[in-house]
């Protein structure tokens, strides 16, 4: 049975989540991927204001496909999270409390997640249509010139995900495969 989780997160909810929990996320997330992260980090390093509030926010690593007329959102599944590793710890210092993506995240991001704290939700890569049905509204926040790489705000309802890495540092990507591994390389 999936837990209902409201976004943005509060600390108590964040700490209650455990790796492997199935969750349905509702509320608001911001989006961003490679190009937007590069710009955000440059602003952080120059000490300039960011075009988006990060405090308590969850960021969804996604570059959506265009929406057909009448649809709230186009297909919008997760992209690989490890590519944002060079940027994520700095964004956590600005209050970022979670990420939604797919695949592994790196050791520096894992350390930063324990310190701040933050949670990493996994969504199923390649299930972009199914996920888009849980997106109620899409609003452009910054960098329209980046096209699919712009920063958007999504209002979501019952977005299907799992807790991939919890704030205690436990990872489904470590623990899950161990249960089924029958061989080494």
């Amino acid at each position: 049975m999936a837990k209902k989780v409201t976004l943005p997160l509060d600390l108590a909810t964040l700490r209650s989540l455990r790796a492997g929990d199935e969750v349905l996320l509702s509320g608001s997330v911001i989006t961003g991927r490679d190009a937007a992260h590069k710009r955000l980090l440059a602003l952080v390093e120059e000490g300039k204001p960011l075009p988006v509030e990060l405090d308590s926010q969850v960021i969804y690593y996604v570059g959506p496909a265009p929406a057909r007329p009448g649809a709230a959102a186009g297909p919008a599944g997760p992209t690989s999270s490890y590519r944002m590793d060079p940027y994520t710890p700095a964004l956590m210092k600005h209050g970022l409390m979670g990420m939604i993506g797919k695949g592994r995240i790196g050791p520096l991001t894992l350390e930063a997640m324990k310190a701040h704290p933050a949670v990493y939700f996994g969504a199923v890569g390649g299930s972009a249509v199914l996920i888009s049905k849980s997106i109620r509204k899409v609003e452009l926040v910054a960098y329209p010139e980046l096209g699919p790489e712009a920063i958007y705000r999504f209002d979501i309802e019952d977005f299907p995900a799992v807790v991939a890495v919890d704030a205690q540092g436990r990872s489904l990507f470590e623990e899950g495969p161990k249960l089924y591994r029958q061989t080494g390389v």
């Binding site: 570059g63 297909p75 599944g77 199914l130 096209g147």
Partner: protein
């Protein structure tokens, strides 16, 4: 000599990319249905169910099943009796890609220059084209929409002849192990063995577009394909990398003659969203 107007090629390329992006082939769907039955991990079964439902909605509503509608790769096999008229063939292929991606609600994911500006071209062109001239008067088009989550996890090694079958096995398994959850398992793993540095990679790409019901015609390679598939599935990575016994839907090997000094092996990883469509003109 048979004349083909390049506008025919444009039209076919455009239709093939729409078909590939909206509809996952029945061979892949059959493997996904079977995997959902066989997968012991409850979470793995849920992931597979989500993928299946996603692909069914995509096909029913003509929506791209994955938002990463890929880098567009076109293999052209051209009969030497064909004369193309009406303009540049290369531009006609790009025009087909442009039409599919701008009119079909597909994402535009190509940057014009890779290192400095990385500015999006806005229409998913230019595509990657590989042409081969063969006898006859037909033109065969294979359109592949290749997602980059899995492309990024692909690798190539120049092994020595002494490393042999065991070396190839080790390299393929290590590549999948290193990739872990990142390339969206369950995977279609394309392996190119032999040839030269670039031919190995090209064969691996071609391998990802073969029907999942196909096996290598040499029974020794067919056996190796099966052993690699079983070896990968024993790694435990599972659907979405959450753990389970479904990590590879199929391993395809394409092989070619090579040099006495070498054993090139390339592994092109493809996610479960194995998108390709083909047509003969």
């Amino acid at each position: 000599m048979r004349e083909i107007d390049v506008s025919e090629v444009s039209k076919a390329v455009s239709e093939l990319f729409l078909e590939a992006n909206y509809r996952i082939g029945p061979d892949v769907m059959d493997r996904l249905y079977a995997a959902r039955e066989a997968e012991p991990s409850p979470l793995g079964r849920k992931v597979l169910g989500q993928i299946i439902e996603n692909n069914e909605i995509g096909a029913a509503e003509s929506l791209c099943v994955c938002q990463d509608t890929g880098i567009s790769v076109v293999f052209l096999t051209v009969g030497q009796e064909v004369h193309f008229t009406g303009g540049s063939l290369e531009e006609a292929v790009n025009a087909g890609v442009r039409k599919a991606y701008t009119e079909g609600y597909l994402r535009k994911s190509i940057v014009a220059e890779p290192l400095f500006d990385r500015k999006n071209t806005g229409d998913n062109t230019p595509c990657v084209q590989h042409a081969r001239i063969v006898p006859g008067d037909k033109v065969h088009l294979m359109a592949i929409a290749k997602g980059f989550g899995s492309e990024n996890m692909s690798r190539l090694a120049m092994l020595t002849p002494a490393e042999g079958v065991e070396g190839v096995k080790r390299f393929v398994l290590l590549t999948v192990e290193l990739a872990g959850p990142n390339p969206c398992p369950p995977l279609v793993v394309g392996v190119g063995v032999g040839g030269s540095f670039e031919l190995a990679a090209l064969m691996a790409k071609r391998a990802t577009s073969l029907p999942l019901t196909r096996s290598h015609k040499d029974p020794r390679y067919a056996k190796l394909e099966k052993e690699l598939e079983e070896g990968i599935n024993r790694l435990g990575i599972g659907p979405a990398g959450y753990g389970g016994l479904t990590t590879a839907l199929k391993v395809h090997i394409v092989s070619a003659p090579t040099h006495i000094a070498g054993l090139p092996v390339a592994v092109n990883i493809c996610c479960h969203v194995a998108r390709h469509a083909e047509r003969t003109l």
